[in-house]
């Protein structure tokens, strides 16, 4: 009986607790009306105000917003837009991939951003191609950008006609050439390893660009014979390590460093190449590395970092956000070269190369000269160039067109490594 009373009072406490929590409920129940009432009019209301009209843009990031790699480069590009476009406000969802956000699709998440008032949606990853197109077709009135894609490229192989759909990408080929050059100027063994992600058009042409830059600088600045340069690509299978499926990038980097390769250029989104080179150096070996994607990537291994080719999305997205705000946005495809007057100008250059602390002063001078040559019009995608299997790719003096370069079918002659993923 005593116990019964104890429980009766416990129930009472519970009821009171519930009542105490009740204030939460009314707010919550009031709300369903609110989204329609407050969320949506918020934008028009803001436009009435003389202050800069609020302009919301949304971004879907494939990785964490602070990954020190590809996604962070985008995220900071978004912050740049916020700083430079009056009234601009970024909303974003990161880790947009089926492993991190089970049960959702990027198209569905994009709609969430639109319901929060976004007037422009940016899909940042190649992996979101289907969803970006699906979303744009279902929402032809919302400006959509898919970074790295080719869907809105009329000359491309995957063109889809959509009124407000754009593709932006930097010509990272130049960044990779500079990376390759830095590697060739530094290597003592004449062996450069390239830590590749998965094999596709983009990764083939970027690995090949690094090779072209390395070859050119090995001959023209280091004064050695291109025949003495070994350039090997090992693909891990994806943009980052997925235990059990991809090759372990740590292992691949170690294999390079233990078999005479003293520079590892990274083509993947994470920094294993840099980290392992740091360990090898600590163990007394010659070891250097070139990371990828993000301007501050060298910080994880300053003493071995030769520099980093990186994306600077800020000015790219600022231009498009401005166009959307002005009502001038239309379907476009852009593949943007660095600003050759200063490739590290954060207001103008979509692609840059930040030199690392491990690059010698002498190499840095040569690298600057190489960059000046590129700026002056040097195009390493000029024949004679053969594909890896020896078949002709560009005839003597022939300059590769954008289509030829974008859709490079194999690695180039002189490179070791797989050209096409196994059937």
């Amino acid at each position: 009986m005593k116990r019964l009373w104890f429980f009766a009072s416990l129930m009472l406490v519970a009821v009171m607790l519930l009542a105490a929590c009740k204030p939460a409920a009314p707010t919550a129940t009031d709300v369903p009306a609110a989204p329609a009432a407050t969320d949506v009019p918020a934008a028009p209301a803001a436009t009435d105000v003389p202050a800069p009209a609020e302009f919301i843009f949304g971004m879907l990031l494939v990785g964490p917003y602070n990954d020190h790699g590809y996604s962070q480069a985008h995220y900071e590009g978004g912050l740049y837009v916020e700083e430079n476009l009056p009234g601009a406000k970024m909303i974003y969802i990161d880790k947009v991939n089926s492993a991190d956000r089970p049960g959702t699709t990027p198209a569905q998440l994009a709609e969430d951003l639109v319901s929060k008032g976004a007037k422009l949606i940016i899909f940042n990853s190649d992996d979101m191609k289907d969803s970006a197109v699906e979303f744009a077709q279902a929402h032809p009135d919302v400006a959509t950008i898919h970074a790295s894609g080719d869907t809105s490229w009329k000359d491309g192989m995957n063109y889809v006609d959509m009124p407000l759909f754009g593709n932006s990408f930097g010509r990272m080929e130049y960044g990779k050439m500079i990376a390759g050059c830095a590697a060739a100027l530094t290597t003592k063994s004449g062996q450069v390893g390239y830590l590749g992600p998965l094999i596709n058009d983009e990764t083939r042409r970027l690995a090949s660009s690094a090779f072209l830059g390395a070859k050119y600088c090995f001959e023209n600045y280091a004064g050695k014979s291109a025949a003495d340069l070994k350039f090997k690509v090992t693909w891990i299978g994806f943009w980052f390590n997925i235990p059990g499926f991809t090759s372990d990038p740590t292992q691949v980097a170690d294999d390079f460093l233990n078999s005479g390769y003293d520079v590892v250029i990274s083509g993947i989104d994470t920094t294993e190449g840099l980290v392992q080179a740091g360990k090898a150096k600590a163990a007394g070996k010659d070891a250097w590395a070139v990371p990828y994607d993000y301007v501050a990537a060298c910080e994880e291994g300053k003493d071995v970092c030769l520099g980093v080719p990186y994306f600077n999305w800020g000015p790219v997205y600022l231009k498009q956000a401005q166009a959307v705000k002005d009502g001038a946005f239309a379907s476009y495809f852009e593949w943007l070269a660095p600003d050759w007057t200063d490739i590290n100008n954060k207001d103008t250059s979509p692609v840059g190369f930040q030199k690392g602390a491990a690059l010698s002063a002498e190499a840095a001078t040569s690298l600057d000269a190489f960059i000046a040559e590129l700026a002056g019009g040097l195009n390493l995608w000029t024949g004679p160039l053969n594909l890896q299997d020896g078949s002709a790719y560009l005839a003597d003096g022939e300059v590769g067109t954008d289509v030829q370069v974008w859709y490079l079918p194999q690695l180039l002659e002189g490179m070791e490594g797989q050209s096409v993923s196994a059937q």
């Binding site: 519930l18 959702t104 969430d112 319901s115």
Partner: protein, 349 residues
């Protein structure tokens, strides 16, 4: 006076559990310096704030409900079918296989979709039967067998996506090439939900309810679950009944996988099961294995999943917070149930 075995008494404990879970989640949010009321508000808006949102919740609800339905049967037989994730995955793989083989054939899309569903069911059943065989004839506990087979299913999916079924020239985490629109389960105009899959989900739970409440089979299954030895002694072939539970649960899981392919993703993706199997286990535990409650509680969990997407957008909070609430609910309900049983037992003593 309140009787300790009365439903009211039991209900009181459940309310206490819910309050406990809410308080726990609120404390977690406060520790993370997040505004709890705003977070709850966002979850509500994010799940029922518009027709589109409600439709998305239903899209997530159906495979969860199917998984839960299947699990109610294995739980009834006293089995912990952790391997349900793999069974959903195999269902999706078999459906994808069927669609790939038939998509260029002369068969009508409707027929191909039906074959896709049947293949998915078959895939789930095959995978579940492996766990069952290991358990009944190999003496391998179904938890370990199922867990192992889950890993194999994931590896198989990734191998297919990056290997034999990869897109032309390139493997991609976004999955295999999407199927033609004709092979999608018809959707409601402008929304992602499909009346067909909704129908399948609802029929599924009704069937399970009827099996458990109204059939001799269900009764014997429960006998096996309550006391396998006793059931065996009174002449129930327990192995056969456990195997049947695995088969039927596998069929439901396979159906969930088929729904993911035919109605949601329209292709095979790396984590095609979306964790609905594990979530289904939580739902089943939360409702104390009562089929009647499966639909509403699964709906609530689906709403939490969809609604919580607002948290990273607006509050820059991780959306796994909904998982904290879901987990806390299950833990508190189990805990309160334990407390109640203990107190009741004492009284009897």
């Amino acid at each position: 006076m309140l009787n300790k075995t009365s439903p009211v008494y039991k209900f009181g404990f459940q309310i206490l559990a819910i309050v406990g879970a809410l308080i726990f989640t609120t404390v977690v949010m406060l520790l993370a310096k997040a505004p709890p009321l705003e977070a709850y508000r966002l979850i509500v808006i994010g799940s029922v704030g518009s027709v589109g949102k409600i439709s998305d919740v239903i899209v997530a609800w159906i495979p969860l409900l199917l998984a839960t339905s299947g699990l109610l049967l294995t739980f009834a037989a006293g089995l912990w079918n952790i391997g349900i994730e793999g069974q959903i995955t195999l269902g999706a793989i078999f459906t994808t296989l069927a669609l790939r083989l038939l998509q260029d054939s002369a068969l009508s899309p409707a027929l191909i979709i039906i074959i896709g569903f049947l293949s998915g069911i078959l895939g789930g059943m095959i995978w579940a039967s492996l766990t069952g065989l290991l358990k009944i004839y190999g003496g391998v506990n179904e938890i370990f067998g199922g867990l192992g087979l889950n890993f194999v299913a994931t590896a198989l999916t990734i191998w297919l996506i990056f290997g034999p079924w990869k897109r032309p020239g390139v493997g991609s985490m976004s999955g295999t090439v999407p199927f033609d629109n004709l092979l999608w389960l018809p959707q409601v105009e402008g929304l992602r939900m499909s009346w067909w899959s909704l129908g399948i989900g609802l029929i599924g739970i009704v069937v399970v309810f009827l099996i458990l409440q109204g059939t001799y089979f269900g009764l014997r299954l429960k006998a096996v679950g309550k006391n396998g030895r006793a059931a065996f002694i009174i002449g129930i072939p327990t192995g056969k009944y456990m195997m049947s539970a695995f088969f039927i649960c596998g069929a439901f899981a396979g159906l969930a996988g088929a729904t993911q392919v035919l109605a949601v993703y329209h292709r095979l993706i790396p984590s095609i099961s979306s964790g609905y199997g594990f979530l289904g286990l939580m739902v089943a535990m939360l409702i104390n294995y009562q089929a009647l409650w499966a639909a509403p509680v699964a709906l609530f969990f689906a709403a939490l999943n969809i609604g919580s997407i607002q948290l990273p957008i607006v509050l820059k909070l991780d959306s796994t917070l909904s998982g904290v609430l879901q987990g806390a609910l299950v833990l508190f309900v189990l805990m309160m149930d334990g407390v109640r049983r203990r107190l009741t037992a004492k009284k009897v003593n």
